[in-house]
Amino acid sequence: MAEHIDVAVIGAGPAGLAAAIAARERGAEKVLIIERAEQLGGLLPQCIHNGFGLLYFEQDMTGPEYEKAFIEKARSLGVEALLETMVIDLDAERGITAVSSRHGYMKLKPGAVVLAMGCRERSRGAAGIPGTRPAGVLTAGTCQRFVNIEGYMPGSRYVIVGSGDIGMIMARRLTLEGAKVEAVVEIMPWPGGLIRNEVQCLHDFGIPLLLEHAVTFVHGEERVEGVTVSKVDAERRPVPGSERFFPCDCLLLSVGLIPENELSRKAGVELDPVTGGPVVDQNRQTSVPGIFAGGNVVQVHDLVDWVSWEAEAAGRSAAAYADKGRLKVASGVKVVPGKNIKYVVPQLISGKDDVTLHMRVERPGLKATVKVGDVLWKRYRSVRPSEMVILEVKGDALREAGVKGELVVDCEIRGGD
């Protein structure tokens, strides 16, 4: 590993592949992906369901099909990959320390780094579910790997906590494989995933979705024997007397995803406490020059298509940085989440160039207006926390409005929820 690397990409999921491809296309000669698993593709190989690529390829693809298109393109462009290699350290000067059983201990100093580590599922501890600690409690993604890759059914009777997309997709998958899914339990008053998943994964199979309910106890010594489910009040506290027992031998958790940023922290990259990902400018540069980030490591997306697009921006910027040793800073204006906006990415923009703003609302509502300072407003018939709001803002409009310092984004709701 003595030779010079222009752009190193950490992670070979959809973000890493897209970033590497974009870096090559933008002129970076030597682009290297470092991946801890034994194959490229990240989580896509286990996402055997369709619904991928509707925006990016204008085609309804499955996870493996989407992944294959990117892998083939990366290979044809000569992107290199180190598999079964774990990055254990990253410093503020872009120094990477990695280990693998084949190559041993490696130190790399690429011209630029793209963080593409994706995200991790929240665990039982993070969700704070009381009860015993028997076998049979696992995350929806782990179950997906067992069922779709390894060929095991971890149980025959399931309760799923959380109505995130992976949880709903697993409810359908397990039902089709002959298991019984007793219920999907959601603590919020609205579902956590996309409407199409609620309809096609739950309604199609008559699986009850219990909104404003929580699992308040896990029963069983060696193995899960059932769970207690309670209704929750407006403060999300269990309502005494509302307890119901659901027998099951498996409890799946689909309670949210957390961007995986241990390495970012080591490099001293500033993180946004709300997204859990790096604070980025519109070039997807982090607070550490030469370190870029894209995809679910920055913000948890609903659709892989946007993961790819965001990571491409990071890859292009990384190639430009590697070429010149610097990149024009695009962080003159801070984008601030205002009324009913949970977060906006990128957090920093130039205030002069076209930019795509990704945001999530805090509460759902009908007849919503999203206002980007005095620059732009757009009406939506409906907004939901589970569906990202994406707005294109023109550089001309930003310049005309004379945006300086801060740009506040608000979402006003006129139609109730």
Partner: protein, 127 residues
């Protein structure tokens, strides 16, 4: 009384609950709750002939990679999803397979083929 014909539209995040109104002869007389024309079209199709793309896996017999992901080449009637699953349990894929290869032709006479969605051996490995 005719069964209540209400469908949740999945066309956009709005998720309209659309009820179809019919006259005495059973012809569609109107819609209640649909915010747009595309939604009405979707609802009619969903009532007449609901179809879904089915994705599943088939066995390979290879211990290191026991399953091959598959999909139907076109949407199939919703009611046939479980019967098709029983067919997938019966087939075994023979290597090598390329994504797009037909694993089972015209499954249950739906005119849909069961096709592989990944290469086997896989595309993402060392190489």
């Amino acid at each position: 009384m005719a069964p209540r014909e209400t469908v949740i539209c999945i066309g956009c995040p709005l998720g309209c609950r659309v009820t179809v109104l019919r006259d005495r002869k059973g012809n569609v007389a109107g819609f209640k709750g649909a915010e747009c024309k595309q939604g009405q079209k979707y609802v009619l199709e969903e009532l007449k002939n609901p179809v879904r793309t089915l994705t599943a896996t088939v066995r390979t017999g290879d211990e290191s990679c026991p399953l091959l992901p598959v999909r139907t080449s076109r949407p199939v009637p919703k009611a046939l999803m479980k019967p098709i699953m029983r067919e997938t349990a019966r087939v075994k894929a023979a290597p090598p397979v390329k994504a797009g290869d037909v694993i089972l032709k015209n499954v249950l006479k739906t005119k849909a083929d069961l096709v592989a969605t990944a290469d086997w051996p896989g595309a993402g490995g060392e190489g």
